[in-house]
Symmetry: C2
Subunit: 300 residues, 2 copies
């Protein structure tokens, strides 16, 4: 099967306790696409400016990602600069320059409209709703959001969630949206808004997959020494998760569990280098090996 | 096999967002003993004052815990009062009244000296060292500690760790002791001090068991809605862990993994009520059922 993602492509500058990098490839749709490209055909809808480096286009193409929906607009690419202290779960934004992303209005190429798997990365929920209107009933719709939209565009977000199968958010966002500190209680509120499945990302504590019957699956993060930059971990998780579902084209509980594991593993690769450096260099055998190692560290 | 624990027995007053309780049974050795009593014969060495309620003695006896080492001293029992806000991982101490615990000098009854499993709960490392001198080469020695001793009695703690098989501490304590934020790097430093196994407790993120060859086993906390009071969760974990090892008298990697699971499950029961209320009312079948449920939520 194939997978459509709509979100941001950016140029990031990042500092962590383990180094700093200027102008690396960034953006939610970027991390998602690269991660998912190890499992399925990915079609990317996003906007970049005319300053966007050719080498990054080549990197995305080398991963087989379809870029027919990557609009090049007059102006500069979305830029983000952030810094992490020793708590890598918390990014401190130094600046966000939306640039061409400010007027982003996703255009879905005709050939993309029947894509069976859809991921709406973290953008304005009104734009996410617009995308939904412009695709032909995908088999699975998943989306991300963030505290800014929960605080400022709650009605649009709620309208969106009525039409979403899997909602993927951070623990703090789940708490903000539901006003519940317990994550299972939070999930019950979120299910009342529409989604049938919820993934709560918990940074270096991993992710929890919850079904609307209250059952859940807990996937702790893969423990590692060599962590360099957590940027993009959540989108890499989503890319592994939905990428795997799109590959198998199976939506059973068992397939979802397995997909969560691939999400966790792709996030673990993401954080091992700045930008998507480690993800881009992966071989499929690296992924399978780490899934086996992970199983040994978790199952009993 | 049987198991000796040396630590505190206390009377706690606790407030959480889910209620408050005055003068409940508390203390590290209490939670540990009750938890371990579901697996093995437990011998408790601690001190209480003459004000200690008879009903709590009866509760410990009803769990089959041997109290020959429970010294009754002139004065009042150790009392702690704490409050938790919505982040249940962080206790705010309102007061600590050491009372008879201030002059506690553990006396090991002669009949206890050959106990094969030993847990040194969180007390002054000099006292923990004294206990070690007064037992006959136990098969397994495990201990806990805390930030106060790391900051104030580091030499005694390091001396102790040379003679300990399994060190069980919180993530923040592991970081404080090692000056490393990454937990695997922290573990390498701690192994250089002597222990061959390390358990890092991470509150509602669960626990990690690490071997001195760098291999590890990750046990996320069992996700629940009805959490009331996190007091004693870490000691209940340790009780389940060492209790299980003492029961099986096996120290293989496989047994240790299984023991970690029992630790996680006992901690999950602990937090479901104030004080050890839920632990005391457990049936062995409740424990086995939850181990099975947990497996479904973790393994893939």
């Amino acid at each position: 099967m194939s997978l459509l993602v709509v979100g941001s492509v950016a140029i990031d500058s990042v500092e962590t306790p383990f180094g700093k990098r200027e102008a690396v490839l960034g953006g939610s749709a970027t991390y998602f696409s690269i991660s998912a490209s190890f499992f399925t055909n990915v079609k990317l809808v996003a906007v970049i400016g005319r300053d966007f480096p050719k080498k990054y286009i080549l990197q995305l193409e080398a991963r087989g990602i379809s870029l027919d929906g990557l609009e090049v607009s007059k102006g500069k690419t979305f830029r983000w600069k952030g810094k992490y202290e020793h708590d890598l779960n918390k990014a401190n934004t130094i600046y966000t320059k939306l640039n061409v992303f400010k007027d982003f209005s996703p255009k879905i190429p005709y050939a993309y409209k029947k894509t069976p798997y859809l991921f709406l990365a973290n953008i304005d929920p009104e734009l996410q709703l617009n995308v939904l209107k412009n695709v032909d009933s995908p088999r699975l719709v998943a989306c991300d959001s963030m505290n800014f939209w929960i605080a400022n565009k709650l009605n649009a977000l709620k309208k969106l969630l009525k039409n979403v199968d899997v909602f993927i958010i951070n623990d703090s966002e789940a708490r903000l949206l539901s006003r519940e500190s317990n994550l299972l209680k939070a999930s019950r509120y979120i299910f009342s808004l529409g989604p049938k499945r919820l993934i709560i990302k918990r940074g270096d504590s991993g992710a929890i997959f919850i079904k609307n019957d209250g059952s859940f699956f807990n996937s702790p993060a893969y423990l590692m020494e060599n962590i360099k930059d957590p940027t993009g971990a959540g989108d890499s998780f989503a890319g592994g998760f939905i990428g795997y579902l799109s590959k198998t084209n199976e939506l059973s509980d068992k397939a979802m569990k397995q997909a969560v594991i691939y999400g966790t593993i792709m996030a673990s690769f993401c954080v091992q280098d700045f930008g998507p450096g480690r993800l881009i260099g992966l071989r499929p055998s690296d992924i399978e090996k780490r899934v086996r190692d992970y199983k040994d560290c978790i199952c009993f």
